[in-house]
Amino acid sequence: MSEALGRVVATERKPNTPHEFHFWTAIDSPVGIGTIVRVDGAQPIDGQIPHIYGIIVEGFSYTDLQSPMHDVLGHDGLPTSAGFAATERAEIRLYTAAVLRQIPEEPLQPVPMGQVFLAEEEDVQVALRMDSYLKEGAATGIPVGVYRAGGTDAVIYLDADFLLGPEAAHLNITGVSGLATKTSAVEWLLSSLFTHFPEEKGSIAAVCFNVKGPDLCYLDKPGRIEDTDKTLYEKLGVDPKPFESVQYFAPYTAKGLSLNTFRNNEALLDNVVPLTWGLREVLQFAEVLLNKDDVDAKADALIDFITQNVIDKEFSDPLLSKKHRVQSFADLEAWFRDVLQGMEKKDGESWRTHHVATIRKVRNRLSNISTRCAGLVTDSGAVSDLPFGSFADRTVYVVDVANLEEDAQDLIFARIVSKLREHLERRDLGVKHLVVFVDELNKYAPGDGADTYVRKMLLDIAERGRYLGLVLFSAQQFRSQVHRRVVGNSGTALFGRMDPDELSTPGYTVLSPATKTKLATLEKGQLMIRHPHFTQPIFVRFPRPSVMQGREGAERYPQAGEIGLDVAVLRSLRPLDPGITLPWVQDLIALYTEDEIIRARNATLLARPENVKAYFTAQFRKVIPAQPAARPMATTIKSAPENDPYGF
C-alpha cells in the first residue's frame, strides 16, 4: 500500500459532510484538481473500517500571513528582497474533495477523520462503481480513456448498457471548436466501441453525418500515432488502426458530374457511393423543405392527394389530356402542366376541391425542390441510398453533407434518420445497435428558435431511441444553447476545452470554480466525463485517433476540381471496372446529351453490374450513325418532237 499523502481535517466553519471533505497534503504532493483519493477511516462502523473515495474539486493554499500588508512591510515594499528571506512562511495545501463513494454505503455518514491516500487502479474502479460492470459475467466496460494522477494510470470504462441502452443512452460532447477534440473523441470512442462492445449484445454500426470540413472523410486511412498514443492504445486494449469497414455517401454537385464531397479524389472513390433520391423519396419529407407558413392546410391536403393518388400510379382524369404515371420530378411537372391547362380550358377555379391558386403554389414549391437540392434530388427519379436492411456489423457509414445547402442537409438528415428508425423498429436494419453521430447541434437542435423537423427528429431519438437501439452521439460548441431535452437525455457527457463564457452559464454551476478553470485550459486529448455510474465528473486522457486527420487527408488526397463529363464518367465507372479507359468513354458518349449520359452513369453505379461496359452501353438509346447523302442522278431531258412548233 502506498504512503499516506494527506490527512482529513474539519473545522466548525468548514465541516465535512457525507458528500464533501477537506484534507491537507505536503506542499510537493502529486495531487491536483481531478485527482481521486481514498480516505481510510480510523473507527470501524459495524465492524468495518470505512473507506471513502473522493475527487479533488477545489484547492486552497495560504500561509500564516494575516494581511498582505504584512508581507509588504516585511520586505520593505520590494518584491525582489522577498527571495532573501531566511525562512519561507508556513504554507498549507488544503483540498476539498467531492465524495465519489463510501464503503460501507450505509449508514451514510459525514466523512470521518483519517489518512488520505492516492487512489490506485483498483481504488479508481471501486470509486467510480466500475467494479459492477467489469466483474466476471458483466463485461460491459467500454474504455474511454486513462485517468492519470501521481503515477496512477487507470483505465476508465463506460458501461455499454448506459452508453447504448437499454438502461440509459446517448452521448453528448461539448468543446470549443478548432481543437478537433470533439471529432477526435468520437473517432476514438467508436474505435473502442467496435473493439470492446460485447459480442453477445449483438451487432453495432455507426452513421456519421459529416457536416463540416474533411475530418470524417479519411476514417479508413491510417493516421500518425506517436509513442505516447501507442502506450495509451495498449493500455486501453484497442489496436491503433483505422476503421476496417467504412462507406461514404455523398450527393453529386449541382452539375451532376462529380460527387460533392471532400473525398472525391479518384484514389478514394472505391468506397464512396452517390446519394441520390427521386420524387418518391423526397415527397415523404416534403415538410422538411417546405416553409410551414407557406404550406397551409389546403396545400398540405393537395400534397397528400398527390402522394396517395398520383405518385407511382396510373392517373387519369377527364380534365387531363392523357394518362399520367408520375415517377420523377419531370413527370410531376408534366402532370401539373396538364392539370392547369385543363382547368384553364374549362375556365374552372377548382379541381377535385383544390383551388387553382393552391395547385399553382404547390407546383411552384415542389418543382423548386429539385433545383434547391440539385445533385441530391434527381429529376429522373434515380435512387442511390444507404444500404437500409443490410447494414454490416462494425461498419461506419459516413454521409458527407458538408458542402450542401441547408435545405439539402435537412432533407438528408430527416430522411436517413427516419429510415433508420423505421428499420430498427422492424428489426431489419441489419444491425442491432446503431450510433448516429451529429455535430453542430447548436445549428440542428438549438434551445431556442423555430421548431424544425430536424430538431423534432433529434428530440425523438434522444427520448425514445434507446428502446430501438438508436443512439445519438452529438456534439456542439455551446451545450447551454442546445435544446435541454437533447442534452438532458444524454446519459454520458464529454467535455473538451470549454469557452469561459459558456462555463459561466447556469448549466455549469454544479462544477467548482477550480474544475471550471481546469475545463477552460484542458489540453488536446483530455476530456471531462460524466456518466451515470460516476457521481462526479472525471478527467481522462484519450489517444489520438488512429485515422488520418482531416487536414492531412485533404493535403494528401486533394479534392478533385471541376472536370469534364467524360472524365467524370470515367472516374465513376473505373472503381467498378478498372479496364474502362477515357477514349472508350469518349467514343461512347459522343452522340448523347449530358442528361442521358448522367442517367446512364447513375443507373450503372446503382446496379453495379458484372459487365460494367455492357450495362453502361445498354443504357443509351440506339442511334443510327448518319450516312452521307448520295447525289441524286439527273434525269435525262427528253428531246423535243421534231414537229414541235415551239421546240428549238
Binding site: 500564516d64 500571513l65 504584512h70 516585511g74 528582497s81 531566511a86 512562511r89
Partner: protein, 334 residues
Amino acid sequence: MLVSNSGPDAASRAALRLLVDKLPGLNLIEGGGSSEPPIASDPPVLRSAQIVEGAALRAIKVAGVTRATTSGFGAFLDGTQKVQVIAHSLGLPVVIGTISAAVRVRVNKRLVTWGHQPPRVERAIYLPLRYLTQLSGDAIAAIVAAQWRIIDTSTADRNGEYPSQHPAVLLDRAVRAVDQQREELEDRLAQAWCAIGESPLFIDGGISRTPDVAASTCAVGVIKSHRTLYVEGESLKVVMGLQKGERSSVFRVSPRSRSSVLSWYLRQRSAEGRDALWGLVRVEVAECDRPGERADEISRWVLAETSPLALPDGRWDKMSYGIRDCEEFLRAIS
C-alpha cells in the same frame, strides 16, 4: 516562550474528573480560567555589566548587513506554557500546567521538527498538598497511577518557610513552578542540540541557565523582554538611542546563580514613533576571544531573521519568524 490561559482541554477535563472523585468538596471553576493574573513578574531593574568591547558602551553599526545577508542559524528553540486554574478547594487553587518545547530545524528554507529529539509536551497538576488535608495518600497514588504528575506548591522555600494559604500566593507558586518546569524542558532540548552541535541554534530567551549551553558556540539566546536592563547612566542612553541595524558594545552578564555569558543589545527595527524598546533585543552568546567580531556576525544573522515578519504576533518587532513558527507548532500539539 508563549504563555496562555484558556478553558480546560480534553486532558484537563480528564484530570478534573479524577480530582472530583478523589477530592471531596472541590469547587469547579467555570471555563477553567484564573481569577488572578497567572504571570508573576519581577520588578523592572537596571543592572551594571562589565564591558568587554572597548572602554565604554557605544553604538556600533553592524557591518556587512545587506538584503542578501544570510543567517547562519540552523534551528530555533522555544517553549510554551499554559496555566489553568480549574478548581479550588476552600480557596486553595488547583492548577493544571501544560508545558511544551520544540526545536524546529530549517531545511530548504522551511521549518520542520528536529528528528533527534521529538517535541515534548508535559502536563502536571499543581496542588498545595500541605493544606489539602482531605487528599489522602491513596488518592494521590491513584492520581499518579493515572499518569498525572503532581507538583506540590506548598513546599518550604530555601529559608525553610512555607507559603501562606493565601490563594494568590499559592497561585503565584504554581505559576512559578510551571515556568520553572518549562525552562527545564527547554534547557534539556538545548543541551541535546549543543551536544550534537549541528549548527547554531536560535534560542528564545537566555542561555545562561545551563553551563553546557552557556559555553556552547552553537547556542545563541535572543531575549525580547527587558525587565532587567544591563546598562546604567550614559550606557542606558546609548542603548535607548540605538538606531536600526546598530548594536551596543559587548558586555558580560554574570548572574549569581548562572553561567557567565557575553551579551549586547541590537536594534532590529527603527523605533521612530514607537517606544524606546521597540525592536530592541538582547543577544547572549558563549564567551569567546573576539567578542566584537562574534557580535557582528551573530547580529547579522539575527537581523536576517527579521524577515519574514512574525506578524500577527503582537511581539513581532522583536520576534523572529522561526520562534513564531515554534510557538504555532507547540500551540498545535499541546
